[in-house]
């Protein structure tokens, strides 16, 4: 088992005397096996991004346990252990522009991760060049440039190239293609498949797009208002949805091959 999430919860206390409670994530549990693509599907406010941040150690949970290869992710003592975690578990986010510090060249996004890999004296330039090639970019085209000088597709590919350098066991991809043009979406998805085929990488896709989840996952988890309301393989979710939320979601998605009734 690569990742085990048990009863993960996040409650925000807001308001004048911090009295009001907002339950962003409520007791979710799921696990991820090696080489598995799992999708966490939910609409905005469902808590899926909050869950991802907690798994990535970017947001502290209120309660619950996240274990990576048997170790409690929030109980890592020392910088070395944290670095070792990030070498194995990494994240890619939705907005390819906001993900970069606008004042630095994008090279930093790639060279930064060598801190996690600890190999000094190895051919860093060569490794970066290789990683860029894997994602279909030429080093000459993108190195030395600032984020605003590149397109959204290029920026997102560089994020994936960063993962190619690390060869993590698990990637959390939060809406990785929602801000990418339709004609290039599929090529970014293929990069994830490549990582799985070549390095047994598992991916948790966080998305609002049930169609994407259906197409790409081994398992689909439907989230609504902070809880996981249904779990299953894509075919079951689509053809035999159990939970009313899943049923409604399925009915409201604009299909391409079938036409809606009564429109």
């Amino acid at each position: 088992m690569v990742l085990e999430v048990k009863d993960l919860t996040k409650i925000y206390h807001v308001g004048l005397f911090k009295r009001k409670e907002i339950v962003a994530v409520s007791n979710i549990s799921f696990d991820v096996k090696p080489s598995e693509f799992v999708s966490l599907v939910g609409e905005s406010g469902s808590g899926k991004t909050t869950a991802a941040k907690m798994i990535l150690r970017l947001l502290k949970p209120t309660s619950g346990k996240i274990s990576f290869e048997g170790n409690d992710v929030w109980n890592l003592k020392g910088l070395e252990k944290v670095r070792s975690y990030y070498k194995s578990v990494h994240g890619i986010f939705q907005d390819p522009y906001a993900s970069y510090n606008p004042l630095h060249k994008i090279d930093r996004a790639l060279y930064q991760v060598f801190t996690l890999m600890g190999q000094s004296g190895s051919d860093r330039d060569g490794m970066v060049r290789e990683a860029l090639k894997e994602v279909g970019l030429r080093a000459e085209d993108v190195l030395g440039k600032y984020p605003h000088e590149l397109s959204g597709g290029q920026r997102q590919r560089i994020m994936v190239a960063r993962c190619y350098l690390l060869r993590p066991k698990l990637i959390l991809a939060d809406e990785p293609i929602s801000m990418i043009d339709a004609s290039t979406k599929a090529s970014i998805l293929k990069l994830f498949s490549k990582l799985r085929d070549e390095h047994d990488t598992s991916v948790i896709f966080i998305t609002h797009d049930l169609g994407l989840a259906y197409y790409v996952s081994d398992e689909v988890l439907i989230m609504s208002k902070g809880s996981i309301v249904e779990k299953g393989v894509p075919d079951d979710i689509m053809n035999r949805p159990q939970h009313p939320y899943t049923k409604r979601l399925k009915e409201d998605i604009p299909l391409f091959y079938k036409k809606w009734v009564g429109f």
Binding site: L58, H90, D95, A98, L116
Partner: protein, 271 residues
């Protein structure tokens, strides 16, 4: 429109600097020397006239600009250093450290700085421009700390921070590489505002007789001017030039900070 604001304010400000540097070289008269008859209006010999002791007011003005600028810069640097350091640590660390530092900040904020300055100033018999800068600097940093802290806290939750955090970088490295550069423009503006405030504070201190004892500043000239009742007696060439210059300097700095704000904002939003 915004380019013009920047030009005007920068022009005035740079102009003052040049005057202060080259002015006394060109017009080489000792400000404190008695060189003429007292209370003479502006003439060919004395472009700004003389004061009640017969000293050359133009020489006094040039020397005064220089010292006022000096105090402005020095006090601003001191306040900036303290304020930014505290703000960065507080904003980044959060929790107990944040609460304690903000408590200290609030205490200093609430202390009546004029009184403190007066007490300290009265205690020090000899006050050179550096001491005056120190007094002003040590009492004017709280708003900078609070503002820096807010900037820090908002920057910390920006998405680009995830990348550096996931790269396992140490806190200090993240602060220096990711956060400070994004705060650079704000820090610069804070400096400009601090300088403006410091020059006026110095003038204020001087006007109640607690400013520099060695040398002369714009505030000191004004102090003597009001001591000898120049307003009532119509000796306008004594109080008007330093007053006007002080207002021009402070206003140009305020204008500069607004212009810089406009200049930096669109630039930061995506080149």
């Amino acid at each position: 429109m915004r380019i013009k604001k920047l030009d005007v304010s920068l022009g005035i400000f740079v102009g003052m600097w040049l005057i202060s540097i080259f002015g006394s070289l060109i017009y080489n008269v000792d400000p404190l020397a008695i060189v003429g008859l007292p209370e003479q209006p502006p003439s060919n010999r004395f472009p700004l006239g003389t004061d009640s002791w017969g000293r050359d007011l133009l020489a006094l003005l040039l020397g005064g600009i220089r010292n006022s600028l000096y105090v402005g810069v020095a006090a601003a640097l001191i306040a900036l250093a303290i304020g930014v350091t505290i703000g960065v640590i507080s904003g980044f660390k959060g929790g107990f450290i944040d609460s304690s530092l903000m408590l200290v900040t609030d205490v200093v904020l609430v202390l009546p700085s004029i009184l403190i300055m007066m007490l300290v100033a009265a205690y020090l018999r000899e006050r050179n421009p550096f001491y005056v800068s120190l007094i002003i600097g040590l009492t004017s940093w709280p708003w900078v700390a609070r503002a820096t802290r807010s900037q820090m806290m908002s920057l910390k939750s920006r998405e680009f921070m995830y990348m550096s955090r996931m790269a396992g970088l140490r806190d200090m490295r993240i602060i220096v590489e990711d956060l400070l550069p994004n705060m650079a423009s704000y820090t610069f503006m804070a400096f400009v505002l601090l300088m403006s405030g410091a020059m006026i504070a110095e003038a204020g201190l001087s006007m109640i007789g607690l400013g520099v004892t060695k040398g002369v500043s714009l505030g000191v000239i004004l102090y003597w001017a009001q001591l000898l009742e120049s307003v009532r007696r119509g000796i306008w060439w004594w109080f008007m030039p330093p007053g006007a210059i002080l207002v021009a300097l402070a206003s140009s700095l305020l204008l500069l900070s607004t212009a810089l704000d406009e200049y930096f904002s669109p630039r930061l939003k995506g080149g």
